[in-house]
Symmetry: C2
Subunit: 480 residues, 2 copies
C-alpha cells in the first residue's frame, strides 16, 4: 500500500470503517435498536480469536473466568456514591417483569463492580482467601446520548472483558495494577495495535476509582480511541459493600481492589490500524483464515489447476496453517481477490497455467500486496516465513505510524494547530493543576489524556498554560 | 456406590442439588436478584467443556456462530401474534434509558426469533443465500412466576444455545429438524445423559411453531426435566416479518424456518444424573480435571512421596491428560478426598509409603469408588483405559437407570399410582385427541410429554381415557 492510498482511505476513515464492517461480514449495525450490532459469522470468528489471546494471557496470570448476572438491583448500584452518580443517567432500567411493575428497578450492567461486590462479601473470610482474580467476557449497556458509532460507541457493548481483583494490602493492589498493564501491553502487542499509556486526570478517572490508567490508540483520522483501562479502586467499593477479611494478625480489614477492562474496541483497533483502500488487513494470529488458495482457470486445464490447489490446501493444513480453497465456479478470480482482500486474509496463493507448468505457485501478501512465486516443494516454509515476517512488519509499521503522530510542542497555539489538523497526540508541559488542565482543554479544544506512564523521560520546564514550574508532560488529543 | 446410597441421596435430590452447586464451587445463586446465579470458576470450566462439545457438533454440521443483540423492541416482539401472547407476560421490560422514558419499550430476549428475523430480511435475497444456519450462546430472560430453582428454572438463564435456520423449502426445513435431533442425540450421548424424545402435544408446543420435539430426562427424584427442544416454525415468522427470497424458478417465496435450543439445564442434567452421596460425578470429557494426584504423607518420606506425585503429574500431562496435584500442606488426605470427590474428578491417584516402596500408585474411580494399585510404568495406559471404561460405564448405567423408569400401563389408576410414587415416565395408549390428553393430565395429575419419536414400535389398542381406537403411545410424567 502506497502512502497515497493510506492518505486516501484514512481521509474518509469514518465512512470506510462503517462500510467495511458490513461489507466484510463483520458486524451489521442495522438492528432496529440504535447502537446495537450483530456479530456476523466472519466477524464472530475474528472476535473469538482476539478474545482468545486475551483469555490465554489472563488464564496464565492467575485469573479465573466466571459469569455474573446482568441485572443490578438499584439498591446495589447506589451503594458507592461516586459510582452511582456517574452511571445512573447512563443505565438502561428494567422496571417491569411481565405486566407487573418491579418493586426495585434493575439496571443493565454498565460495568460489574456492584454486581460482584455482594458475592465477594459472601466468599471472602480471611487473608487465605486472597488474592481473588476474576474476569468475565460479557455484554454491557450504556444509554449513550452522544452519537453512536459501530463497535466504538455502542449502547450494547456486546463484548467486554472485565477483570476484578481483591487483595489483602494496598501494595498487593498496586502490584496488580502494574501486572494488568503488562498483560494489556502483551495483548495489544500480540494484535499489532500500538498504544499510549497515561494516567487519566482526576476529573476523568473511572467513577469510584483512586486513579485510572488508560491505553489509547491513534485512529487513522488522527483522533484517539480509548482501548483499555486499568483502575485502582482502593477500598472505595469494599467499604461501601463492607467486604472485610481477617488479616494475618487477626484484625478485620477491608479488601483492596482493582479492575480493568477491554471491549470490542480492541477489534475496532485491529481493523482500523492495519486497514487500507481494499479493506481490512488482519494480523495472522487474528485471521480466521490465514491463507486463501485461488485457482486461475485456463481452458482445458481447469481440473489440473483445481487439483493443484487442493493439494496445496492439504499440505498447508498438515502444517497447522488455517487454509481455505475458493473453488466457487460462478466467480472470476478478480472478484475472488476483491472478496478476500476486503476480509483481510493475510496471504493469497494463486495457481495459474504458468504456475502449473513451472511447478510453482504465486503468493500475495495482503499488507503490501507484493507478489512472489514459490516452488511447490518450498511452499510450507515460505508461507510460514511470510506469516512471521508479515506479523513483524505490521507491528513495526503501525508503531512507526503512531510514533510519527506524537508531537511535543511548546505553545498552546502550536498544539491547537496540530490538533485542528488531526495530527494525532500533542504533548505539552503541565504543572499538574486541574485548573490548568481544564484551561488547556478549552484552549486547544481537545481532551487531556493524561500524564504518560509509558516513558522514563524526565522533563522540567514551564507549564504551557500558567508558566509555573512543570515536571510533567501531558498528552492531549481529539478523543473519540 | 451402593443402591442404598443412590436411594439416600436421590430421596433428598432437590436439597442435594442446591447444596452441591455452591459447595462444589459450581454456581452461587445467593445473588440479590431471585433466579440469577453466578457461574463460579470451577463451574465455569464445566460449562465451557459442555458447551464446547455442543459447539463442535454444530460447527461440524454447517452452523455458524454469531452474536445478536439482547434487547427486542416491543414493535418486533408483537409481530408474530401467537409468539407474543406466550411471551409478553414472561418478559423483563426495559422502559427507561437513564432518566428518560423510552418511546418504545424493549424486552430482554426470552428467545431470539424476533431478534434475528429483521436481520434475515436484510440478508436473504435469493435461494442461493439459503440455507442459513446460525447459532449463538447467550443469556436469556424469563420473568418466572413459578418458584425458581438454581440452573433449572432461572430468571436469567445465563447459558442458552439457540440455533436458527432458514430454508428454501418445507422439505429442507423438515430435514433440518431431523438433523438437529441427531446433533442433540450425539450431544447428550457424549455427556452421558439419557433422554426421551417426544413430540409435544399441540397445546404445549413452542409459541409460533408448527410442532415441537422435546428431549426430556428423568431426574433422580423421578420427575422429568426438559433438556432440549427442536421446533419446526414453518413460515409463521417469515410471513410475520416478510422474509422473502427469489426461488430457483424466479418466484418470490417466504423462507421455511426451524429453531432449536439447549440451556444450562444440560449441565444440571450432567450433575444430576451421575451424582451420589459424595457429590457430583463428572464424565471425563466434561471434567476440568480428569486426574487428581494426592500424596499420602508419611514421616520422613514426605519429600520422596511429593516427588513421586510430581513425576506422575508430569507423565500424565505428557499423555494429554488433564491432571493436577494437590500438594496443599494444611489439609489431611481425608479432607482432600472429600474435596475432590465433591467436585466429581473422575480419577484420584494416591501415593503413600507402601506405594513408593513397591513402585506403585493407587487409583480410585470416582463413579464406583473402587480402588486398584498399578505399577508406575503402566500408569498412563491404565489411566487411559480407566477413563474410557468409566465413560462407557457411566453412560450404560444412566441409560439402564432411565429405561427401568419408563413404565407401560393399561389403566389411569396404575399410571396415577406410579406417578404419585415418582416412578419416572409412564406410557399409556392414547387416541391423539386433545380432549383426552387434557383429561389424562387431570386424571393422573401429571403432564403429557407427548408421543415418543425415539422408537419404531407400532402399537394398537384402546385409548386409556375414552376407549376409542388408539395407535399411539403417549408419555406422561411429573415435569419440572
Amino acid at each position: 500500500m502506497s502512502t497515497l492510498e493510506r492518505k486516501r482511505w484514512s481521509k474518509r476513515y469514518g465512512e470506510w470503517f462503517r462500510n467495511v464492517l458490513i461489507e466484510a461480514g463483520i458486524m451489521d449495525y442495522r438492528y432496529p435498536i440504535k447502537g446495537c450490532g450483530v456479530w456476523m459469522p466472519y466477524g464472530f470468528k475474528i472476535r473469538k480469536n482476539v478474545f482468545q489471546i486475551l483469555r490465554d494471557l489472563l488464564d496464565s496470570t492467575g485469573h479465573s473466568e466466571t459469569l455474573f448476572p446482568l441485572m443490578i438491583p438499584e439498591t446495589s448500584l447506589v451503594k458507592e456514591s461516586v459510582h452511582v452518580k456517574s452511571f445512573e443517567e447512563e443505565c438502561f432500567w428494567v422496571t417491569k417483569g411481565g405486566l407487573t411493575p418491579l418493586k426495585v428497578k434493575y439496571a443493565l450492567r454498565p460495568t460489574s463492580e456492584t454486581v460482584i461486590a455482594p458475592m465477594l462479601k459472601l466468599w471472602i473470610r480471611s487473608h487465605a482467601d486472597l488474592p481473588i482474580r476474576l474476569y468475565q467476557i460479557v455484554n454491557i449497556f450504556r444509554y449513550e446520548t452522544k452519537a453512536t458509532r459501530p463497535l466504538i460507541r455502542m449502547r450494547e457493548v456486546a463484548s467486554f472483558k472485565e477483570a476484578h481483583t481483591s487483595h489483602a494490602t494496598r501494595e498487593d493492589a498496586e502490584a496488580q495494577v502494574r501486572e494488568a498493564v503488562e498483560v494489556y501491553k502483551k495483548f495489544f502487542n500480540a494484535i499489532g495495535v500500538p498504544y499510549s499509556i497515561s494516567q487519566r486526570p482526576d476529573w476523568d478517572k473511572f467513577a469510584g476509582a483512586i486513579y485510572t490508567l488508560s491505553f489509547d490508540m491513534i485512529t487513522p483520522d488522527g483522533r484517539t480511541l480509548q482501548i483499555g483501562t486499568v483502575h485502582n479502586l482502593g477500598q472505595n467499593f469494599s467499604k461501601a459493600f463492607d467486604i472485610t477479611f481477617e488479616t494475618e494478625k487477626g484484625m478485620q480489614g477491608h479488601v483492596w481492589q482493582t479492575c480493568y477492562g477491554i471491549s470490542g474496541r480492541a477489534i475496532a483497533a485491529v481493523l482500523s490500524v492495519h486497514g487500507d483502500d481494499n479493506g481490512v488487513v488482519l494480523p495472522p494470529n487474528v485471521a480466521p483464515i490465514q491463507v486463501i488458495v485461488v485457482p486461475i482457470p485456463y481452458k482445458k486445464k481447469e481440473r489440473q489447476i483445481n487439483q493443484a490447489c487442493e493439494s496445496i490446501g492439504t499440505t498447508l493444513l498438515q502444517a497447522d496453517l488455517k487454509v481455505e480453497l475458493d473453488l466457487r465456479a460462478d466467480l472470476t478470480p478478480g472478484s475472488k481477490f476483491y472478496y478476500w482482500e476486503l476480509r483481510g486474509i493475510p496471504l493469497r496463493i494463486e495457481v495459474g497455467p504458468k504456475d502449473l507448468e513451472n511447478n510453482e505457485a504465486t503468493i500475495i501478501r495482503r499488507d503490501t500486496l507484493e507478489k512472489q512465486t514459490c516452488k511447490i516443494n518450498e511452499l510450507v516454509e515460505t508461507v510460514q516465513k511470510l506469516i512471521e515476517k508479515m506479523t513483524q512488519d505490521i507491528q513495526q509499521r503501525s508503531w512507526q505510524w503512531m510514533k510519527d503522530r506524537i508531537h511535543r510542542v511548546d505553545s498552546l497555539e502550536e498544539a491547537k494547530q496540530l490538533l485542528r489538523k488531526r495530527a494525532g497526540i500533542v504533548e505539552v508541559l503541565w504543572c499538574s493543576h486541574a485548573e490548568c488542565g481544564h484551561q488547556l482543554e478549552e484552549a486547544v479544544d481537545a481532551r487531556v489524556l493524561g500524564v504518560p506512564t509509558d516513558t522514563e523521560e524526565k522533563v522540567s520546564g514551564k507549564c504551557v498554560v500558567c508558566g509555573r514550574r512543570a515536571e510533567n508532560v501531558v498528552r492531549v488529543a481529539i478523543a473519540y
